[in-house]
């Protein structure tokens, strides 16, 4: 079986999804053939059932294990009086920098904590240290998103002791994190001015799941052909009623409203 696409040992032309690649078949013949896939099914040999068959209705979520852990996280957070926000955005949108300034701004006012995720390094955790909030790094190694189990393991040590606001900085990725509930109170989507205006309509699954959006790097607007009205319209199209913050963590523009909002969340 081809390890690239999972197709079977049948040497005839068969369908896949428009890509072409060559691979060895068991007889040792290398050849290339095109693939298009009109419908889904695996290309393994499906042997007819020799014995009796029974169909079992399951009606189960595939990610029920993740969802169950997310619910346990949610219950733990509620029990300990912690509001948790799941920050999602593309890599480089300014999540960590915003968190640095946010932790500084809330220091002494709101007890915060951070769980940050990346494939590798603890660079983000290092940047966030020394600002009065416990910080923990998750290195996902291969995974492109944080999951409930990873977060659940860290909750007691990072979000206990009177913490009121937990920031979960997800892996920079506009696609996968939206499918994995972490047990957060809600998601916050970040979008920087350098990314253009149409990311929300290009990645609707993610942007439609966030009731709050933060437009970052507003200080760069004079250097860009960025259309604020178009960006807001796109955000509202995929998530009607979305609450939008526009700020620059660097210059402080819009930060007061953001910090004020975060404080009010924990009252």
């Amino acid at each position: 079986m081809c390890k690239d696409c999972g197709c079977g040992l049948d040497p005839n032309v068969h369908s896949h999804d428009g890509h072409v690649h060559s691979h060895e078949h068991s007889q040792g013949q290398n050849h290339t053939h095109p693939h298009e896939h009109p419908h889904e099914h695996p290309h393994g040999q499906v042997a007819p059932a020799a014995g009796e068959t029974r169909t079992v209705e399951l009606q189960l979520k595939i990610l029920s294990r993740n969802d169950e852990q997310a619910e346990r996280n949610r219950a733990w957070l509620k029990e300990h009086g912690v509001v948790a926000v799941n920050l999602i955005s593309s890599p480089g949108s300014g999540k960590t920098y915003l968190l640095e300034r946010t932790l500084e701004g809330l220091r002494g006012k709101v007890s915060c904590a951070v769980i940050t995720g990346d494939q590798r390094t603890d660079n983000d955790a290092r940047r966030l240290q020394g600002k009065g909030a416990p910080v923990r790094q998750i290195e996902t190694i291969n995974s492109c998103h944080l999951d409930a189990e990873q977060v659940g393991r860290l909750l007691p040590e990072v979000a206990g002791e009177g913490v009121k606001l937990l920031f979960i900085e997800n892996v920079g990725n506009l696609v996968c994190p939206s499918a994995f509930d972490l047990g957060e109170s809600f998601k916050i989507a970040l979008l920087s001015t350098t990314e253009g205006e149409d990311k929300p309509v290009k990645y609707p699954t993610l942007f439609s799941s966030a009731p709050v959006a933060v437009l970052t790097k507003m200080d760069l607007v004079p250097h860009l052909d960025w259309n604020a009205a178009a960006c807001r319209a796109n955000l509202r199209q995929v998530r009607p009623g979305v609450f939008i913050f526009e700020l620059s963590a660097k210059t402080g523009l819009g930060m007061e409203a953001w910090l004020d909002y975060l404080s009010k969340l924990t009252e």
């Binding site: 009796e52 068959t53 079992v56 399951l58 189960l60 979520k61 595939i62 939206s178 499918a179 199209q237």
Partner: protein, 117 residues
């Protein structure tokens, strides 16, 4: 690709269900994938056989039922299908809607081969 994590979770669930029924093997798995689930059905169907290899689900047919995004309109009360990228009421055009379908990622049923005797 996170479809790999999802394929692994799917195989684990199927294995658990098959074990409960003392099945010899899994013949067919039927899943529902919503338009807003964040999952690409073709990627999942390519990965499933790879992940299922060596398990009781090896060789099982994976059938995917796609579920369209649907909304219930708070303005006019009607319920209808909506475009995943342009979420709104198809009847009155209002954006004040509630998602009623489209985020599904479920195992609907499995067909098992049980002891032939």
């Amino acid at each position: 690709m996170h479809e790999l994590s999802i394929a692994q979770a799917l195989v684990e669930q199927v294995e658990a269900a098959a074990a409960k029924e003392h099945a010899l093997r899994v013949v067919r798995v039927v899943i529902t994938v919503g338009a807003l689930s964040g999952v690409e059905p073709e990627a999942l169907s390519s990965l499933f056989p790879l992940v299922a290899e060596g398990t009781v689900a090896a060789g099982a047919d994976l059938a995917i039922e796609r579920v369209a995004a649907r909304v219930k309109c708070r303005a006019c009360g009607r319920e209808a299908q909506t475009d995943a990228a342009f979420i709104g009421c198809a009847a009155c055009g209002s954006k004040d809607v509630e998602l009623s379908a489209g985020r599904e990622l479920n195992i609907k049923s499995i067909e098992l081969e049980i002891d032939g005797k």
